[in-house]
Symmetry: C2
Subunit: 337 residues, 2 copies
Amino acid sequence: MKLATLKAGGRDGTLVVVSRDLSRCVAVPSIAGTLQAALDDWERLAPKLDAVSVGLNAGHLADAFAFDPAACASPLPRAYQWADGSAYINHVELVRKARGATLPPEFHTDPLMYQGGSDCFVGPCDDIIAVTEDWGIDLEAEVAVITGDVPMAASLECCAGAIRLIMLVNDVSLRNLIPAELAKGFGFLQSKPASAFSPVAVTPDELGDAWADGKVHLPLVVAINDTAFGCPNAGVDMTFNFPQLVAHVAKTRALAAGSIIGSGTVSNKQGDLWGSSIDNGGVGYCCLAELRMYETIEGGAAKTGFLKFGDRVRIHMADGQGRSIFGAIDQTVSRLP
Amino acid sequence: MKLATLKAGGRDGTLVVVSRDLSRCVAVPSIAGTLQAALDDWERLAPKLDAVSVGLNAGHLADAFAFDPAACASPLPRAYQWADGSAYINHVELVRKARGATLPPEFHTDPLMYQGGSDCFVGPCDDIIAVTEDWGIDLEAEVAVITGDVPMAASLECCAGAIRLIMLVNDVSLRNLIPAELAKGFGFLQSKPASAFSPVAVTPDELGDAWADGKVHLPLVVAINDTAFGCPNAGVDMTFNFPQLVAHVAKTRALAAGSIIGSGTVSNKQGDLWGSSIDNGGVGYCCLAELRMYETIEGGAAKTGFLKFGDRVRIHMADGQGRSIFGAIDQTVSRLP
């Protein structure tokens, strides 16, 4: 089953069931007006939504209409929780290597995660808005899950069973604000502006064999200004899978239905730590910072700049037959009016 | 106007208007079923809620009933944002002094804030639940505001005008998990379990002259196991006021209506940095960590332990005539069943 949220209809938008090929959708006001409402009562409502999905995919629903990703909000336009991991340790190792630091051994057993702002997500085709390019605007292409209720101290099995939906995310980072903010010791706040999620969130069964071991085993495809930038496999080098990330959050507190847990920037190690751009035959990157780290390690300084006003970022994922699973995050960087 | 949320009625509970003396309340389903719904449409609904408040305080509402804080959820049982400052620099200075570190000068101009989890707040009279006392369970008594919508890069005036409601909070901290978590560099996650807020949230006008300069100029009263522990004035030594804290969050992103912004642990400097327990004639503390820091500075080691299962924490604030403004946070520490 594939679900999306159209912007029309208020702060939480309007829930629609989307056809597998992303061409058609249908509103389901008699089942749930919003995705949060569906998640709040998932056990009862998911079978009803699934029945709609079956009918839609069979072409049987007369009230279906064309699905337009540009009309979408993020699947949860506002959420009660967004916690983002750094499950791809290569990304963390690289950032540290560029500044001459090594990776603490516990980073392989204790996930690095931060609590993000979840009150104002932007839509998948909305602009990335900033006051100035000087903030060092960067994309971070990731995979994320939406959970049901998770009790405190939940087991990995419980956390795995609580994963309701999967989607993509552009966790925009303001790189030039990060060093001073992290130096204060309390984590990210100003350096993590509004994230955008893929037009569509899907139940794990939609991924077939590509959903295994709590990971999505498919390339995450990133382009900047229509030039291929990255296609690392989200199932490769993911040190902590999604059940482990959920369990990390749940260690000391319960999670409410609708919590979004992210993977962190997808990053493949590819044998060594550098020289893996797509031009060089590698799988490229899911953020500019990583390319800049490679450049720093190789040449002593970063050559590539961060995003400029007018730059366009596209993030999507296709199945084995090249069909888009989630629709594309497709954002342009723009100045605050 | 005073507002509260009864637990009955679903995940977001049921909004009630509460009388000024906290004795009576009335549900307002024809205006707004939940506090979030009221905040989402505040300009239109607040006057209607205020009219109910006037009638209730005049004793004119036949459908009013006894107000029971124990039946309350936090005013927002789940929220889209909880960001907590450390506006009382004395608290930060003390923590640093105990470990031999000084306060960076920019801490006086750049607020220290963290993004907290907001999906699962507990009620004002609910237990503080933990798996083990070894986590180092501590209270943190604070003041918090709930905002309306705030645009990105909002001015201080705009942020001041967006403050809709004021309440108290117990921002529980797991002290023994903090050092390792902060050392990882991404801020608090496991070390900040579910917070609890006061039974009642009030509009700023309810505070009269005590709401001035974006601060609440009244003592915040804390007791542990019915023994007075702290009564520092929340209007004293607050380096950053609430409009400044809201503006800090809004620098790079908009805030959605219903965002909760906290003051951090209230702490008065009282001339020097130590010897200010209530027994010693001082105003005491709003967290055990602060007392332990005083003990460390004075005697080389902390003597007071953190909270134990069965311990009771009470936090409230009274007006100049001794009348409770927000009702009391009254929690007992208990082991996860």
